[in-house]
Structures are given as C-alpha cells and as structure tokens.
C-alpha cells in the first residue's frame, strides 16, 4: 500500500508544483484572490511582501489543515479552517509590523485581509482537508509561488510605469514622465486586465500551433 502511494507521489511532485505555478496560476489565470492583489500592488516591494505573506499562510495552513484532517468533524470544517488561517495571518501581521514598519504602513489593513483570500480557504477546503501533509504543502507552495509571481508581474509593471522607478531606483533618468494613473486604482484594473488578455492571447496562439501540428501529424 505504502509503495503504491510513494510511486504515485514521486512524479506528482514537480508536476504539482508547476501546475500550481503556471497552468492554474491563481492570480492571473483563475483570477481569484484578486482583492488583496490589486490594492497593494502599486510597487514591487509591496507586492513581494504581500506575496510572501500569502505564501507562508497558504503553505502552513495547508499543512496544519492536512494534519488535523482526521480529527476535525466535517460540520466544523469551515470554522476550524478560518481560525487556523486567521491565527496565521495574525502572526504574519505582527511579524511584518516588527520587521518593516514602513511596508506595514503601506499595506495597512490589507495584510489582515489575507484571511479572506479565496485561494487560501479554497485550498484548505478543497485540497488540504483531503490529502497528505506532504502533497498538500507542495501543492500549496506551487500555488503560493504562482500567486507571488502574479503579484510581482502586477507590482513591477505598475511601479515602473507609475513612478519610473524599480524598487526605488530610478530607471529612465530624471526627466521621465511617470504615468500617474498606473499607481492609482484604475491602473491596477488596467494592468491586471492587460495581463489576462496577454495570457489568453498567448495560450490561444500556442493552442492553435499545437493543434496545427497534430493535424499535420494526423495527415
């Protein structure tokens, strides 16, 4: 029995990780959990902090939920999961406040809002409560890394266009005219919309190509 699960789990690992990172990339492709994504991604550092915080909560909550899965009755699943996630978020909140008060002020309430990130609760409910610790933590890391990547894509574009800087360092010289709108809320919508469009365009193109190759092979 154990050998069977082991062999099944071995090819699972990298594929699971990559699957979460790209194919089902939570921030961009599924477009879930965008609420905290957009509000604080006006700079790269904010996006990075937010992404890492989410990653931490996601991985640890998955592991804990998965550990407790045989002890928690189904009726109180939701509440237990919420308490676990909220506890972890409180820890992250206090930790960020202690490490960098400046970033903490910029992110404000939005760190605490990680609690209601659809991805985390969805992962706890849909995946972690049904699979082993190793597997759910691995899957969670993939999803979390993908989410961080998506946040960085947003934060990078918005910071470069909106301020002409990257991580605080000016990129284009002093007289560059920043596009103020990119750092404002509408810019967040536009940049995320733009990324989604670009990805769907790219996927359609590669899809067409591979379909064409298959047709040729069939002929």
């Amino acid at each position: 029995m154990s050998t069977v699960t082991n062999t099944a789990a071995a090819p699972y690992s990298l594929a699971t990780l990559l699957n979460g990172m790209w194919k089902e990339n939570p921030g961009l492709v599924i477009a879930l959990g965008m609420c905290p994504t957009l509000a604080v991604t006006n700079s790269f550092v904010n996006a990075l902090t937010m992404g890492l915080a989410t990653l931490f909560v996601l991985v640890v909550s998955s592991a804990v939920v998965s550990l407790l899965r045989s002890f928690v009755p189904t009726q109180v699943h939701l509440v237990t999961h919420l308490v676990i996630i909220a506890t972890l978020v409180t820890i992250v909140d206090i930790a960020i406040g202690a490490i960098s008060p400046q970033v903490y002020r910029a992110l404000g309430v939005f760190i605490q809002l990680i609690v209601v990130n659809c991805i985390i609760l969805g992962h706890a409910q849909g995946y972690a409560s049904k699979s082993t610790v190793y597997r759910s933590a691995l899957n969670a890391s993939g999803t979390g890394l993908g989410f961080t990547l998506a946040l960085l894509c947003l934060g990078g574009v918005r910071e470069v266009l909106g301020t002409g800087e990257f991580m605080g360092a000016p990129l284009f010289g002093e007289r560059f005219e920043p596009w103020a709108v990119m750092a404002l809320p509408p810019g967040g919508f536009f940049v995320l919309g733009g990324w989604l469009l670009a990805i769907s365009w790219w996927k359609r193109r590669t899809g067409k190509k591979s379909a064409g190759v298959e047709q040729k092979q069939a002929a």
Binding site: R175, F176, E177, W179, A180, V181, M182, L184, P186, L197
Partner: protein, 342 residues
C-alpha cells in the same frame, strides 16, 4: 434582385432602412467639427494644429493596425476613428505635449473601442476613455492652459508641445492662463458672458467658442444626425441644478449662465454625450440620461477637487445607459405591465 429569378431571397428584419448610413452620419459630424477645429487653430496657432493632426493620425493608424491584427475588414471608411482623434484634440489643452496626446489616442481606440468589439459595441465613448486616461496619467500637463491669441502663435510652437516622448516638458510657457472655471473656483473672478460665448478665453482647444459649437450642433440636430433630446436635457438639467445652488447662495456659487457657457459643457452635451452607441435609445431614457449628466457635471464642478465635471459625468452616464434603457423600455402594446420583482 438576384441573378436567378426563381430563387426567392429571404432576409430577416429590418427590411426598411433609413437613409442614414454610419458613413453619412459620421462624415456630417466630421464636417460639423471642422469649423470648430479651424477656430481653435486661429486662437491657439500651430500648436493646436499639430495637436489635432497628431491625435487624428494616431487614431486612424491605430484603428487600421487593430483591424489588421484582428483580421477584420478595415473600418477606416466610417470616419469614426478620425472623429475620435479630432474630438480628443478638441478636449485637450492646446499646449498638450504631443506624445501624451498620442498615448491618449491609442488608449481611446484600443481600450475604448477595439477591446469591446469595435464601433457599435463600445460601452463608453472612446474619446472620453482616452481623455480620462490622460487626465489620470498626466494631471499636471492636462491642466496647464495657454491664453488665446498669443503673439507669434503661427510661427512657433508652445514650449510644451514638442516634448521628447516619455519625458516631462522642460518648462511651462510664460503665457499660461487660468480657464474661466479655474478663475471662478479659486479666485472668484467671473469671466464675462460675452467673452465666454465668443470663446476668446483660455481653455481646452475646442471648447472655448460656445457660439460656434452651438451653430455646428444646430446643423447636426436640424439634419437629425444627433437627437436633440440629449443636448437639451443635459444643458437644461445643468442650468436648473446650478440655478438651485445660485438661488441658495449667489455669493458662493456661479450663476447658471456661467455654468452653461464656461468650460466644456456645451461641447460635451452636443458632441460627446449624444454619441448614439453609448446613450440610451428610448426618448424617456434620453431625458433621464441627459438630466443625470447635467446634474453630475454641476455637482462635480462645485464640490469635488476637479475643475471640470463634464467628462466624468458623461462617462458615468454611459455606464448607466444600459440600465436606463432597460428601465424605460416602452410597454409592448397590449401587454400588461409586469410587476417589478427584485
């Protein structure tokens, strides 16, 4: 009709077509805009001319590129891209750096129109999408105005016009002047109505001369290219809203006539709000829509941090126009009014 007389040609409705094609309407709107553009060039010189040429060219080029990329038939023939460019230039300040105007034009055509599926399917007026983007992206440049009839306007460009792309303008002109709206809001100086009406004030390139805009608008309305209800309700509602505030405190709030003739209200009401695609189609809906735009314009002008509210008001009007349409749909003859269930 068909080559073979035995084949019966079947078509779905509509069977009766009006005489106005998209092309006739658009070319007439274009003709109506030309005098306004010409007057703008007279007031602000070659900078205005360069601005108008830039936005129009960029819009047309972007449109043809979009058509090529999406493998659609070229839609340049319906003049809509050119009109978008022309209107965008007329709603920008004359000294606008050309590259920023070009960015706005690309946003107008791509985000405002092409993403929605082209002319006829856009939810917002493309001109206003580009304009609002410019307002949010380059707030300083878009609120730096120049006085009209400056000396040497036909021989040299304004200092800001020829800015290197992606850089900020080196220096703003010495002859900048506040618009009537700014003078009223910040310094409580009211510009005379005659001056406002003729248009010899600072302001956006094409918004200054109310007399000319009204004249061109009257031509379009007389030939039924735009529906008279929308400008009428917009201007009427702005007048009434402003009258209420003026009656309450004439010291603090501007007179309703000032509200009507200052800024871009008339240009917006006639050329931007009345866009057929983005406004309601029912007569009652048009009144509601225009009324909302006029009301919001005055509210934004008087109470928000923005000087001019027309652009925002029309965008909001565009946003609610599908709802207005579905709420003001006339009852089908003989049908019972369904109880509104929510």
């Amino acid at each position: 009709m068909s080559a073979n007389p035995h084949i019966l040609e079947l078509r779905t409705s509509p069977h009766v077509h009006g005489p106005n094609s998209v092309q006739t309407i658009m070319s007439n709107v274009m003709f109506a805009l030309l005098p306004i553009a010409a007057f703008a060039v007279f007031l602000f010189g070659i900078s205005a001319l360069a601005l108008i040429c830039t936005t129009t060219t960029v819009c047309v080029v972007t449109e043809s590129l979009v058509c090529k990329l999406s493998k659609k038939e070229s839609t340049l023939g319906d003049y809509s891209a050119a009109i978008t460019g022309l209107l965008l230039a007329l709603t920008l300040p004359p000294g606008m750096p050309l590259w920023m105007a070009a960015v706005g034009s690309v946003v107008s055509v791509c985000v405002g129109k092409a993403l929605f599926g082209g002319l006829g399917q856009n939810a917002f007026n493309p001109v206003l999408v580009g304009l609002a983007f410019i307002h949010a992206a380059f707030p300083i440049e878009v609120s730096s105005w120049t006085l009209p009839l400056a000396e040497g306007r036909f021989t040299s460009f304004m200092g800001t016009t020829l800015t290197v792309p992606f850089l900020s303008p080196a220096a703003f002109d010495g002859i900048t002047g506040a618009t009537p709206l700014a003078l009223q809001k910040f310094e409580h100086v009211t510009t005379g109505l005659g001056e406002l009406f003729l248009g010899t004030t600072a302001g956006c390139t094409g918004e200054t001369s109310d007399a000319l805009i009204l004249l061109c608008g009257a031509y379009l309305i007389a030939r039924k290219f735009i529906n008279w209800r929308i400008p009428a309700s917009t201007l009427g509602s702005a007048f009434l809203t402003s009258l209420v505030f003026y009656a309450a405190d004439p010291e603090k709030y501007p007179s309703p006539f000032f509200t009507l003739f200052a800024g871009g209200l008339i240009l917006g009401a006639i050329f931007l709000a009345s866009d057929m695609v983005t406004s309601p189609v029912t007569p009652l809906g048009m009144w509601v829509y225009g009324g909302l735009i006029g009301f919001l314009t005055v509210i934004i002008r008087l109470f928000s941090g923005q000087l001019e509210g027309v652009m925002y008001a029309i965008l909001l009007g565009n946003a609610v126009s599908p709802i207005i349409d579905s709420l003001t749909q006339p009852r089908i003859f003989g049908a019972r009014r369904a109880k509104a269930k929510l």
